[in-house]
Subunit: 329 residues, 3 copies
């Protein structure tokens, strides 16, 4: 039959895990989340996953409009939010492509643009090249704002989907050893995720990076103040065997003064099948993507490689956030 | 409950204010509207506003496809139409971003492109840099065409939303004094709006601009021929206290031979809180946006500043037009 | 009444013409189609045409997400797929505009991008500048992939819509004389269509082109191996009177060493009303569009000119493909 199997499911409500705890909220920083809110969020995200896999979509956000206001391009994040909204029956109003030419060029302020966009939409997802832009947007919007990355600031939904990935793949976050490898200096993803991990029990964090790309002191201090067990390494071999979650990040060429220096440095941190023979059987390898050379493509077949599933989990987390913010979960 | 509150509302019809008076019509110029049609349009727009604020959306245009064929970018207009269509349950087929690279570059005529787009869509919203382009499109389309700005020609939906804003904010248009300030020479918005105002009773129009940016003679003559009370000023102070609607437009740097001359001229027309102390208590300040420096941001908090609500009214007017054109209201 | 007339129609199923014969399949090449599959496809496409003309849309693909991954722009193809998906109640996730700036620029492989996109979508339409790209995408996608053109490779849905156009306009493809005119060397459309015609009975193929733009030998050999009656000409006059389908293609300036040589060559193949006086009364003139100068605009009024209806047929064929691939027809 051509009748979608989800006709009933599509009009039923979620089981109330959310309890409205995020209704009407902005999502600006990982620092705003309590452990309890994370628990509620991930339960809704889990339900979203079940529903998508069983029936494909909900009609929870039918008639709602999500504007995506992107001042810099980001295929992955924008598509993930768009797919999340569409699978909940909502519409997407993309603003990014025009911003570069028209109003911004005419000198309009961020505040004015956000005020205009909030006339048309129910929720605004913003990405901007300047730290604090999402905060500014939230201040004037009159509608919930989700920070999808503000320069060297935060990208909270990335950190949330990272935690959800760990939870779904390993059952829990508590008690795990998470090892970050790569460029730990410039990655806002890594900083946000490390801070979010502090909400869990008995977590151990390990950092592996070249000296010049170390985790910044202020982040290390914040994490230390929560009593988290953290240590820095130069060599992945020293810590790989005890690692439950290997979180790999890209080392960008632009950070180095010469191609030669870049290659020398980058080579030391490439994840290969051979390297993984020394890792636990039930650990996972994560990556925020796009991946360039820092994980060999032969690793993709390894069941421990979860970075593509991580993308999919991102959609479920964003579905959950949208539904909760708009008071539907 | 997760069931949208609008399930019933979404499938009901409008109260017949429209009477099908615009069904199948193109919207090319403000000159095509009778007072009666405006009355019908604004009644439907008012209903749209009520519905959006109460339930968020209609399903009136479910299954209909609106193509947006933009030959020059316009964030605001394009987003407004897109949100309008989505809130009526319809789909948006954006054509703009590709036009610049592919078919146009290959030398395809406007007529051929419009014929193709009309194969896929039920209504076409066109923006073009040349006067008369919307007329050309309407000639070949086989589907209703809405002019969303054709160069120095018209931008009728902007004028319509301006009138609707006055009606919603001040209750009526009849008997009001409308003062246009800024660049009155180059703004097609101002010309269209002034012509539309002639359809109302006992309207007084005041123009305040530098000598070099005066309202064009041909527009002044047309308005005079309708017997409208109109006068020109160089100084806003002369007319501010009797103004009910202060319609501010942007003075573009490009119109002046030097930065110095621009600044000197522009400064005289900046709306500030101090200036507004001399205005009526129940007047309104409008602006087609984007605003640059011609209205101080401190004015935004003044209840008389309606330029952001004006954007929102635009969505309701476009919802009404789409529903009426497609025979659903 | 504002209730869409299609409420019932929208939730009914198709009459089973498809028999699930393409469910879960990739669409990569015309070579994959049997005559039986074409028959099923065109029957579903015919039903889609009836439905669109009677009620406007189906809800067959409600909740499904189609990603359009365009590595080069193509207004027509992208819009046609988007409209097809929207008229079936599905959503469109456009990826093209970001690809140029972000992930590709960062050096991500096609495989990684496709894997990510397939996390969010149910079907992927890909256009790429390299032959074989669609095959690569299909290999890693985990979701059905439709080839919307891969460089000098194939563009199978164009050939399918061409056949459907002939079928709808002339009742059958069997027994017809199809004449290709223009640049037959560089047009993948022409190569794919010629190969697809081999599936029909008693088809005669005629080629008219300048010496330098002849049909490639390998295509000629393939067609000869099917026992098809084919012949080459330099002059359209030699074959026009026996032609049932005149398939005109664009001769691109870039193929010639001088403007002069281009004009001399191109002039010989321009279709005019005068030329068509020598053609059959019930023949048809087709063109994949965009058309530049190779068909005079005065021909548009001739009932034999079907190139704009051809665009519309394309939407129905793509609707049919999407419904069948996703197991709904």
């Amino acid at each position: 039959s051509g009748i979608p199997k989800s006709v009933d499911a599509a009009t039923t409500t979620l089981n109330g895990y959310g309890n409205g705890c995020l209704a009407g909220n902005h999502i600006l920083s990982v620092a705003q989340f309590t452990r309890q809110q994370l628990h509620a969020l991930f339960n809704v995200a889990y339900e979203m996953r079940q529903m998508v896999q069983r029936v494909g979509y909900y009609d929870l956000l039918k008639g709602k409009v999500m504007a995506t206001l992107f001042y810099e391009p980001s295929t992955r994040t924008c598509s993930s939010f768009a797919a999340a909204m569409q699978r909940l029956g909502g519409s997407v109003l993309p603003i990014q492509e025009m911003m570069s030419h028209s109003s911004v060029a005419k000198g309009e302020s961020l505040s004015d643009t956000v005020r205009t966009v909030s006339c048309y939409s129910d929720v605004i997802v913003i990405r901007h090249f300047e730290k604090g832009a999402a905060q500014t947007a939230a201040y004037v919007a009159g509608k919930p704002v989700i920070n999808a990355g503000d320069g060297i600031g935060e990208h909270p939904t990335q950190a949330l989907l990272d935690i959800f990935t760990i939870r779904e793949e390993l059952g829990t976050v508590n008690g795990l050893t998470i090892t970050f490898v790569g460029d730990l200096k410039n990655g806002r993803t890594v900083h946000s995720l490390a801070l979010l991990l502090c909400l869990y029990h008995h977590v151990r964090i390990r950092y592996v990076s070249p000296e010049s790309l170390r985790m910044p002191e202020d982040v290390l201090e914040k994490i230390a103040s929560k009593g988290i067990d953290q240590r820095e390494y130069r060599d992945l071999a020293q810590v790989l065997s005890e690692t439950d979650v290997l979180y790999v990040t890209r080392i960008q060429k632009e950070r180095f003064s010469s191609q030669q220096e870049y290659e020398k440095c980058q080579q030391g941190y490439v994840i290969t099948p051979k390297l993984l023979t020394r890792a636990k059987e039930h650990m996972i390898v994560m990556h925020p993507l796009p991946r360039v050379q820092e994980i060999a493509t032969q690793v993709d077949q390894d069941p421990r490689a979860v970075y593509f599933r991580q993308m999919e989990y991102g959609m479920y987390v964003r579905m959950a956030l949208l539904a909760m913010i708009l008071g539907k979960a």
